[in-house]
């Protein structure tokens, strides 16, 4: 048995008393999941997993050097998985083999306490690692449901089901037909068009009004600032279904007025209604983000600009706007996503001609559980990721240009 030369680590962990049980417990956890997934039963899974963990810990620690050991664990569990579950078993086996091998070394070399000061007690180290594990689990449970839908959207069948062909990674089990359906079916293209029309207009309105409101409310001489702020933010706080009911009656009257007085077509007035309703929902997000950025804004700059003879409008566009732009952009992004994802208000305010993507997904789920919904969801997830990445990159670039360090 080799003694590790880590700083502050004088005693090598006890194999039988520490490394073995910990790895076995880790293995039992994997076994539990695998047992449930294969239908072999939780208890059997736990036993097999614990045994595998214990064997790996013992063999790796006593007989093999690090690299060979890791590879052996991967190969051994991988083959075991292949025998039990075929192709998908191999993948799961390789992953759990890698995890078990890592765990055995991680525990036995004492690396688990590498990030802690040497004087930390066993209890503190345990809590530190439990805490990291809980954080990891939270991230996992946040992301796992979203990740599950991505392979399902390539289903060759018309159901939300992992078919046996999919599980054995047979190409016949996968298809792009739901994506084809999305891009060719008028039932999906019209809502897509509507969403793409409604969201940008709603965003433009909420950004313009929201930014102005935030600037006004950040002036100390405005009376009743807090009350006005509370009213403006209320669409975010009031339950959506209540705003939606109110909006339904309000915008019905407004729609009739627009049609009768200005002679607008039903479809045009319908779009205006939904855009205004979504703008009202987006404004609070803009106000909050812009207000937050204005806290760091130095008001002597506007006075300096005025001193140099700039009109308030010029000051706003040339001095204040560039400095608060990151807040405005992230507010715009929130407003856009609010409108793009919104289903309750549009169900009330919109007519069928203004059906948006979330609305179509909602009725699709209720009436016909079709994986096209998953294909749309996958596309939306990818678009959201790209959008957020772009905004983040732009923000960093502008901060670099202004000599600020990215935060």
């Amino acid at each position: 048995m080799t003694t590790t030369a880590l700083k502050g680590q004088t005693v090598a962990p006890n194999l039988m008393g520490f490394t073995l049980p910990v790895t076995a417990a880790f293995g039992a956890f994997f076994g539990l999941l695998a047992g449930q997934a294969t239908g072999a039963g939780a208890l059997l899974g736990i036993i097999v997993g614990a045994a595998a963990g214990a064997i790996i810990a013992y063999v790796l620690v006593t007989m093999l050097p690090y690299k060979t050991g890791r590879l052996t664990a991967i190969a051994a569990i991988g083959v075991l998985g292949l025998l039990i579950g075929g192709m998908i078993g191999l993948i799961v086996g390789v992953l759990s083999g890698a995890a078990l091998g890592w765990c055995a070394y991680w525990v036995h070399t004492g690396r688990y306490r590498a990030s802690m000061p040497p004087y930390a007690t066993a209890g503190q180290v345990l809590w530190h690692n439990t805490f990291k594990f809980i954080c990891g689990a939270i991230l996992f449970f946040l992301i796992a449901p979203i990740v599950t839908i991505i392979p399902l959207s390539f289903n060759a069948e018309n159901f939300f089901t992992f078919t046996p062909e999919m599980l054995s990674l047979d190409p016949a089990g996968f298809s792009l037909k739901h994506y084809r359906d999305f891009f060719t079916n008028d039932d999906w293209l019209r809502p897509l068009k509507n969403s793409v029309i409604i969201a940008p207009f709603a965003t433009i309105i909420s950004v313009s009004l929201g930014t102005l409101a935030a600037i006004g409310l950040s002036q100390s001489h405005v009376p009743f600032r807090r009350a006005i702020m509370a009213i403006l933010i209320s669409p975010m706080i009031v339950p959506l279904i209540i705003s939606a009911t109110g909006m339904f009656f309000f915008y019905s009257q407004m729609g009739l007025f627009m049609e009768n007085t200005f002679g607008m077509s039903k479809s045009l007035s319908g779009y205006i209604k939904v855009i205004l309703a979504h703008a009202a929902l987006g404004i609070p997000f803009v106000i909050i983000t812009v207000t937050a950025t204005l806290v760091g804004f130095d008001h002597s700059l506007t006075r300096a600009a005025a001193n140099m003879g700039a009109t308030p409008t010029v000051t706003f566009f040339r001095v204040q706007m560039p400095l608060i732009l990151p807040g405005v952009i992230s507010g715009a992004l929130f407003a856009f996503i609010t409108s793009f994802d919104e289903v309750v208000v549009v169900l009330f305010v919109g007519a069928a001609a203004q059906k948006t993507l979330p609305w179509q997904m909602f009725t699709g789920l209720r009436e016909q559980i079709s994986p096209t919904i998953l294909a749309v969801a996958t596309i939306l997830v990818i678009v959201s990721i790209l959008l957020l990445t772009t905004v983040e990159l732009l923000r960093r670039r502008s901060e670099r240009l202004r000599g600020l360090s990215p935060t």
Binding site: F159, F160, T161, S252, Q253, A351, A352, A353, L365, E367
Partner: protein, 368 residues
């Protein structure tokens, strides 16, 4: 060249002029509300497309039938009814008619006569359950089972749903008392004719709940028609109830290993209502549309796309083959004699009186 253009342009103008004239008293755009999915698709193919082609009307489809009653109430209160024709089940139509939200129809003058010469009211017969409701299809709520998961003796009776010994596994039932209470009593030895009499009593209701209790732990409750097909395809349940058209699509179009259990299927009706409070042009257009969409041939055409029975007696002989699969549709209709050997008659009036009370009891029982 110039002459040709002028001629063509003037011809077009004249034609546009005449068609505009002919329809001057009718709206040129209408919103039709329906259930979505394969059902809306069948209506589009059988009714909407031929109608818009013949009359140059733009038809917008709104898939809101599930909340039609609530939405129509709200629209009428707001004085802004945006729907022209609404597809609802008979029970909803009765409610809407009672509340004055649906237009009363004079069937014999406002609807087409049957192809066999019968008047509309003779042709629809008993299916005219309300003065506002123009029946369109007969559908049934019935059960389907996974042929590969029920063992060697596939179920032949609805009571298999309550037989956990012979058919262990999960089943799916609709999350409402309607149908489930009746089936529970039937399988607890109550005669078909006595079901509603027994269900009227406190003891009868307890009897039905007691029967449902025996399988409660093995039931997945569904609320959307698409749920049971998904659960059956997943193998998550071994049998479950849903609308017969959903099971047809699952079996014939998706080729899933599922069998139909027509026993004690419960017939229900689906059809059109026209909301009250439309402008005269829109109302004229809506009436013109339903007259077209509920004639003998159109109702028979719909059966080419979905396995729901046409509501007119005169349509039945015209039911042909499925539009894409080319299989005979008659044998898949809930009304086919072979399938309708044992049917259960849903009692609208009884449920109109007891629905609220039993809904509350059912929800309370569910949450116990």
């Amino acid at each position: 060249m110039k002459l040709t253009t002028t001629l063509m342009a003037s011809t077009a103008m004249v034609m546009a002029g005449t068609s505009a004239f002919a329809d001057a008293h009718m709206a040129s755009e209408m919103t039709i509300v329906s259930w979505g999915g394969a059902y809306s698709a069948s209506q589009k193919a059988a009714y909407h497309d031929p109608y818009s082609e013949a009359n140059g009307v733009t038809i917008v489809n709104d898939e809101s039938s599930a909340e039609a009653v609530a939405k129509l109430r709200a629209m009428s209160e707001a004085g802004n009814v945006t729907w022209d024709v609404v597809d609802v089940v008979a029970a909803d139509a009765i409610r809407l008619c009672d509340e004055g939200l649906a237009l009363e129809i004079d069937f014999d003058t406002q609807l087409a006569n049957g192809d066999d010469g019968s008047t509309a009211s003779e042709d629809f017969g008993d299916l005219l359950v309300s003065d506002c409701f123009i029946p369109q299809i007969v559908y049934s709520t019935t059960a389907g089972y996974r042929t590969d998961l029920v063992g060697d003796t596939p179920p032949t009776s609805i009571c298999a749903m309550f037989d956990l010994e012979a058919y262990p596994g999960m089943r799916s039932l609709e999350k409402r008392p309607i149908n489930n209470m009746e089936w529970a009593l039937l399988c607890d030895g109550v005669a078909k004719a006595d079901v509603y009499d027994v269900l009227e009593t406190e003891a009868g209701q307890s009897q039905a709940f007691a029967k449902l209790d025996t399988i409660k732990d093995n039931v997945v409750w569904w609320s959307a028609g698409a749920d049971t097909p998904q659960l059956l395809a997943d193998g998550e349940v071994i049998m479950g109830t849903t609308y017969n058209g959903r099971l047809f699509a699952l079996i014939e179009e998706q080729n899933q290993p599922v069998g139909m259990l027509w026993d004690a299927q419960v017939f229900d009706l689906d059809g059109w209502i026209i909301p009250t409070g439309l402008s005269p042009e829109r109302e004229a257009r809506a009436l013109d549309y339903v007259k077209f969409a509920t004639d003998t041939q159109r109702l028979a055409d719909q059966a080419m796309y979905i396995s729901y029975g046409p509501a007119r007696a005169s349509s039945a002989p015209l039911v042909g083959q499925h539009a894409t699969l080319g299989i005979d549709m008659a044998q898949h209709m809930p009304t086919d004699p072979e399938n309708a050997k044992n049917t259960f008659l849903y009692n609208y009036e009884w449920w109109a009186d007891y629905r609220d009370d039993l809904d509350a009891k059912f929800q309370a029982w569910l949450s116990q």
